[in-house]
Symmetry: C2
Subunit: 406 residues, 2 copies
């Protein structure tokens, strides 16, 4: 069961003018579920992307980078689940290119106008015949809505992740709608596996790319489930411009738009953690008083990745010395532990390098029972801070990942 | 059940002349089990130690460092389990000092001649009354043997860890006997929680310290269970000299002795992983072809710490793309994945950045079913290498750590 994550409601997900969705069941891995999504964009759409920093990045990620850099303009996106097409070498690259050519064929485009995305098992080839049949089926299907689209990119996700905002600008109203997926192998580094955020506002590709880079840092790059950076992480921003309303940098509405865009990204990123594999708790790790943002993140991730901290949260056990241990080994040079304090949902647990004198086990116990917990770590070294979202480590995490391919 | 770790046999653990053991049940945390160990050393013994690099290092670690640096000569060691005396601030430091004073009192020593060690729950104070009673009980008990000693330092360990070697030198025969403990919060950084290796050979404190530093790197510093570096890690070397045989650096027997000493350290370190919390598999991660040892270790630890890799081993599922993903995000600058290959117990799984053409799923399946698996990763970048030992991530790991304090 995801933590504090309501199911998206079909009628609350606004369509994005200029963007059509076609989601079908292609039987890539299992039959009878939606596993292929085709997005078609109106002429004039701007598309930007940020991708995994994993050296073993997947074939589709390599093709996306190439098409965004020198191909385009992008008019279609193809997303399959069930197979990641990663660790597949030259043959996998060829498969990804072939899938773009097939989409181009049915849509009347050049292959370089298509972006391919895959998610699922690594080290296995795409089932190309089923993929081709799926593309043909999608091309002659009626349009799907965003909820169907969110369903069709899921892997171990227990529920679809989608959010929509209607934004009032000085010149009229625009829409931002996004979907994301991912529950395991989640420790994005520049983006997450997979996120698509689209708007009918008009902005240039450069502005869209800049916005994506700045918003990813405080959304998808601030989450972790298991510390495993995926080979396929991709976050794509789409601006169809179909509303006719311009929000480019320098316009009166740029700031309003950027704030709403970040909010959508944060909700989608948090949704991934709330539905993290086996998650029963949602934790916000706030580190303040660091000498730099990098240092603050380093401490936050050490705590967020510690299996001992995560299992203590799973057990609702205030075994909070484990948090101190993680801060201690996070690698902060010359950390003066006598200046460190730790609070959980406002309960002061540790101060001056030891247990807070005011701390009572009952208070710790009662905080640990809550489903959403904010751990605030003050380092007492400087003025920088960082926030990271994560979940606990439960039996279900082990079950899900031990049985993933079966 | 530990992996490939036979129970130490009482009659195979040789006493170390010049060192007496007294192990009792002090009821520190639970009653009815041995939880306090007093070691007394003959006059003239050399003692050296290496300790955790965790900034939140425990009070006893701080006291040990002080007594080794400016106190001594060390004549007694006190070890308790059930409480780590870490994250306990100034009061915890005072408790550690007081326990040294009590040992000094019953043994007729100065407090600075005593080293204190604690292991167990962090952020809780030592139960000083029970500790004092335990020290008094130990001081008037008959001597214990090494198997009792190994029992009395256990926490979540499922079995005692002890090893003994009789070493023939050019001048006669000496003994090296050691014990270790630890099953969780295991990712030692300079030493592990806790190891004690003793010999009746004679060598200077400087030589002993040098030997400890060189052997720890290929033994205790090459293991990980969960990536959590403990606050209390301590490895202590003791040379009583009671055999009268000198093995100092420069003597004919130095090399022989150093090799045997390393072997004892490696066996004790591996024992910790074989009995790692919830372990069902023992993995050796060999990384070769790196540009430096640091780089090789970085890759080995990324693989060894990946929860996805660890759960795949638990499930005996050859979902081996997860190993590529971990290599990919390990942070090696400019890694050319087309030069990377991965073998499991001699089965080539990946080469040239993708699945090996010779690889068959049945071979992967059959290797993954084995209890001991060597993962060999060739980076194709240079001539450096590293080896790390680890275990899998099972349901029992979660159970043990969710229930640890209950």
């Amino acid at each position: 069961m995801p933590v504090g994550l309501p199911l998206p409601k079909r009628d609350e997900l606004s369509p994005v003018a200029g963007l059509d969705l076609f989601s079908v069941s292609a039987g890539i891995r299992k039959s009878g579920r939606r596993d292929l999504l085709l997005m078609r964009l109106v002429e004039g759409s701007a598309v930007a992307g940020v991708f995994t920093q994993n050296a073993f990045c997947a074939a589709p990620v390599q093709v996306c980078r190439g098409h965004l850099a020198s191909g385009g303009p992008i008019r279609a996106l193809l997303i399959n689940t069930g197979c990641a097409n990663a660790g597949t070498g030259a043959a996998g690259l060829e498969d990804a290119r072939t899938s773009c050519a097939w989409v181009a064929e049915v849509c009347g485009l050049h292959p370089s106008q298509v972006l391919p995305f895959s998610t699922g098992v690594i080290l296995e080839r795409l089932p190309m015949e089923r993929l081709r049949a799926g593309i043909e089926l999608a091309s002659c299907s009626g349009p799907s809505d965003w909820l169907d689209a969110a369903h069709s990119i899921m892997t171990t996700d227990t529920q679809p992740k989608a959010i929509s905002r209607r934004v009032r600008l000085s010149t009229g109203q625009i829409t931002i709608t996004g979907i994301s997926k991912g529950a395991g192998m989640i420790r994005p580094n520049m983006a997450t596996m997979l996120g698509f955020v689209a708007t009918d506002a008009r902005l240039s590709r450069e502005d869209l790319h800049g916005l994506l880079l700045s918003s990813v840092d405080d959304s998808f790059n601030a989450i972790t489930v298991d510390g495993d950076t995926s080979t396929n992480d991709s976050l794509i921003g789409i601006a169809t411009g179909a509303s006719g309303l311009d929000v480019s940098r320098g316009t009166a509405d740029w700031e309003t738009f950027a704030v709403e865009w970040l909010a959508v990204c944060q909700d989608l990123a948090q949704a991934i953690v709330r539905d993290g594999e086996g998650a029963t708790k949602f934790m916000t790790i706030d580190v303040v008083g660091a000498t730099s943002r990098v240092e603050a993140r380093q401490v936050a991730y050490a705590v967020a990745h510690s299996p001992l901290v995560k299992t203590a949260f799973f057990a609702s056990d205030p075994n909070l010395g484990r948090i101190l241990a993680a801060i201690g080994y996070s690698g902060v040079e010359g950390l003066d532990v006598s200046k460190v304090s730790v609070e959980l949902n406002g309960v002061l647990v540790a101060e001056r390098g030891g247990r807070a004198t005011s701390y009572r086990e009952e208070d710790g116990q009662s905080v640990m029972k809550e489903e959403e917990i904010t751990v605030r770590i003050a380092l007492g070294r400087g003025a920088s801070q960082a926030r990271v979202w994560t979940c606990d480590l439960s039996h279900d995490y082990v079950s899900i990942n031990a049985d993933y391919r079966s």
